[in-house]
Amino acid sequence: MKSVSRIKINSFEETVIPPKWINIKYLLIVLGGVAIVNQLVFIREFLSVLDGNELVMGLVMACWMILTGFGAYVGRNFKISGFTLEKGLSRLALLSFMPFLLIAALYWFKKTLFPPGTIASLGISISGIFLLLFPVCFLSGYLFTQFSTCYSLSSNDNRISNAYRYESVGSLIGGLIFSFFFGYFFNSFEVFGLTTGIVLILRAWVCNRSIEKYLFTGVGIILPLLVFAFNPDIHIKKLFYPDQEIIRDKSTRYGTLTVTQQHGQLNFYENNSLQFYTDNIIQSEEAVHYAMIQHKQPKQILLISGGISGMIQEIEKYQVEKITYLEHNPEIFHEWKNLIHMNDFKNVEFLKSDIRTFLLRSKTIYDVILLNLPPPNTLGYNRFYTQEFFSILKKHCNHQSIVCTSLPSTGNYAEANALEVNASLFKTLNSHFLHQLVLPGEKNYFLVSDDSLSWNITELISKKRIITNYVNSGYIDDKLMKERGESLISQFDLKVKINHDFQPYMFLRQINHWFNYVGGNYILIIAIPAIMFLVCLFWLNPVTTGLYVGGFTSASLEVALMLIYQIYFGSLYIASALFFSLFMGGLVVGSIWKFGNKNEFSMRQYSMLQFALALFSILLPGFVLLAGKMAFFTILQQFMFFVPVFILAFGIGYEFNLASRLQPYGYSRISGINYSSDLLGSAFGAFITAVLLLPVCGLAITCLVVAGLNLFSGLRVVLKK
């Protein structure tokens, strides 16, 4: 007869516990691993299907955390009787299998609700995100509460913080495996196939009955094999590229790169967003000749992005000595070279480096610098349109150098937000260069130099006998071009702000412009979550408020640190894995750390911790400025980013540990409320910071707001005592 123990915590938690529950911590680890893999893949897929800017990312992350928190909150009332390890693993298998259907549904809904090639509207995007994330997030949160409660009951002690720790360990392991292995080599369906297979095999392992053992083992092996054999990812993606043949689809460190072919034309997509295409005669000529023709003898050329659309061939018409070429995603260039089977360009040096890092280290002076980057519709791209970036660029120019950058065309009428974006760029460039022209073509081309510039493009082209298909007097009238350009410049309100790395004005205006495409109102999108955040802040009890604000703090400052990292170092893809790992590691350590008497958990400690977080937030901007000055000590500079991440996570983990001891409820209720409030705070933190605080207020104010919130929650605890 098995020994049993009867434990009564409250009327919800009366149960009988078999001794096998001692292994429940492994369920928590598996839960953490599966949940984080799901999250990383879903975020990637949503950013691909919807327009992948910070607003969308903030929405996805916020919805994820809110729904998971909701599931955790609902889970506080579940009945434990009848729960077994086998059932736990079965539920985890369901959690890892559901994404198959949900990702397929995501693509199907996008194709059905929105015609091919269109951007999803914001209202339907938000509804879709909620609907599709609900099953997997709700179950994730619910299972955490369930497992952590059982874990506490199994040892007749409050082990919620231990449960949080194990779940964090699982997230850490899952995150590392995904970031350094799965994400590189496998597509989304293959990743889900592998995780489902692993969980099913674990399920088989704990089975008592042979037939179930064989069944689960068999399915656990066959399912991933089927996924690899049939590659549902490609079939689903075909919904996205009607009438196009997908000839390459691979994961890169910058995202998914898809190359399609249609009637001889090659199209390059990054995360399902069209980046370049071949036969792009107009843009490749404009982007090159408007600038190149201004220089008497251009020899050294720096080309930043766009070479594959035909720009290299156009540059070579000038008998240049060398073209230094960088892409914001170097994989695009490699795929292009392989596909068109062209010999190496003799005078083109392709560098696989982050653009800003290269410019900081290099000392070469260039005659012409051509920038052909996407517009500043993400914080990542905004960094190529800032005062700081042009300051770096200027160091590569002499008096005769020409720089050309561009923004999407304002066409025959410049919409207000688009006009402000252009005006801000104009003003930002003006602060570095003496002369500037704005040439309206397929894009608006901003030409700058310390030497004089000419509007008579086609006259110069004709004099130099450069052969072009588009940039010539056949298509362009110099006089009309000048009139249009001057008319556009006259509309610029020079009271606009200069664009900075840490005050991304152009990004903010571009987001407002983006709302014209997708519908919606920026103020409403911000005001509603902000008000909801404040309501929750005053409604929760002091201990829960601390967790809520802690969640906000961790998400907010992590978003800020990742943005800053991106500005200094470029791609976040590898670094995000390190950020994440350190964060999880910090959570784990913090959740088991004990200061002073290991049995003493006091409100005093809790309030002091929150004041410490406030101080941390206030010091962070200074820390970042210091890191910025160490531009030439890259390793030290990077180290200075990762340390605050760890410290922050340590604080949050410790806070969770304390809060679990200080809440006056039963285990399931503690688990449900604590986990959900932490997640809810994180949701608001991620969204409000990415979309409101950083773009509108900048880094310093963001940190002050976070400090203020921690002071507030700390004082609430002090007053409650």
């Binding site: 015609p115 091919p116 090639g117 269109t118 951007i119 009607p242 009438d243 196009q244 249609q262 009637h263 001889g264 034309q265 199209n267 399902n272 967003s273 295409y277 036969d279 005669i281 107009i282 000529e285 304002t410 066409g411 025959n412 009428y413 410049a414 919409e415 207000a416 937000n417 402000e420 397929e442 588009y470 010539n472 007097s473 056949g474 298509y475 362009i476 009238d477 009309l480 903010l508 205006r509 407002n512 014209n516 495409y517 920026y522 103020i523 911000i526 902000a530 404040l534 802040l537 005053f538 409101l692 605080l693 509108v696 207020c697 104010i701 707001v705 203020g708 507030f712 004082l715 007053l719």
Partner: protein, 374 residues
Amino acid sequence: MDKRQFIKTLFCGAGIACLYKPLSAIAESGIVIPPEVGKKWTREAQYYIVTPKGVRCLLCPNECNIKEGELGNCRARLSKNGKLYSISYGNPCAVHIDPIEKKPLFHFYPGTNAFSIATAGCNLACLYCQNWSISQKSPRDTQNTDLLPDRLISYCKQNGCKSIAYTYSEPVTFYEYVYDSATLARQEEIKNVFISSGFVNSAPLAKLCKVIDAANIDLKSFSDDIYMRLCSGKLQPILNSLNLLKKEGVWLEITNLVVPSWTDNMDMIKRMCNWLLQNGFEMTPLHFSRFIPTYKLSQLPPTPVNTLKSAREIALKEGLKYVYIGNVPGLEMENTICPECHAIVIERQGFRVVQNYVAGGKCVFCGEKIDGVW
């Protein structure tokens, strides 16, 4: 009030104060205060009736029922005090000079410039609209220029433009402005060019035909379903407009934007060309234009050049005489070929006429009539 309440209130206030800076920053940015739509830019509409539901506009097939104080679907007609007004009279938001070939009009005074204007508003909602920043807005939302008809004609003459082009957005929505301007322009021997989707009722179009000289109509697709899904429009009214313009003797050219996955089906293009032939449009220039990703179709790739070439071949095979490809520099399919001797009668480089071998409306090589207004 006890200490706890006092501190709570203090912190509430501090919290609100903390929000002041971000909210005021938002308030200062991104909100456009629409300019006042003055009475001088408002005229009573010509085509409407009064119904128990309000006024009903009869200008285009939408035939909007517009309630008091509201705008029609085109955002350029306002119902006020039981009458319908156009609020886009003399207030264009886009004023430019373009070569006539850019409209595109290849057989209408080639080599001349058109004084091009547009007011905000449109009765369609095309997903790929290049001028969406004005077509999908109201004149209340845009920065406008004061350019009543007499001033418009004056500017046109000052700039040496042969014609006025009512273009960019949808000139049907500023019908009264077009009509009055065209009437005045004719008196000054300035030509009037109507660049439109053709989504207009027959009666207003017939009246307008008396004062315009040329038109380019966008035949966006040959499928009613695609018209609805791509543009929120209908096919039949466009076909009616084409017939009416031809009947009224307005010089007509047709543009078909070939959009991948939407309007690039060769069977549909063949049916379209067949219809054009059957209805007497054999000599009407047809322009197949390359789609460039924009507005809500920004994730679609541009039309492959080979697709455009295939479309042109089909059109020529079906019997259409003047078929061009637009938006593809260097293709040399913008030259006018004599339908009889197949010589290049107008050689173009982009929008510029390099050689013109049309004399008296005929090919100088074989004497064949070359349709157009020369």
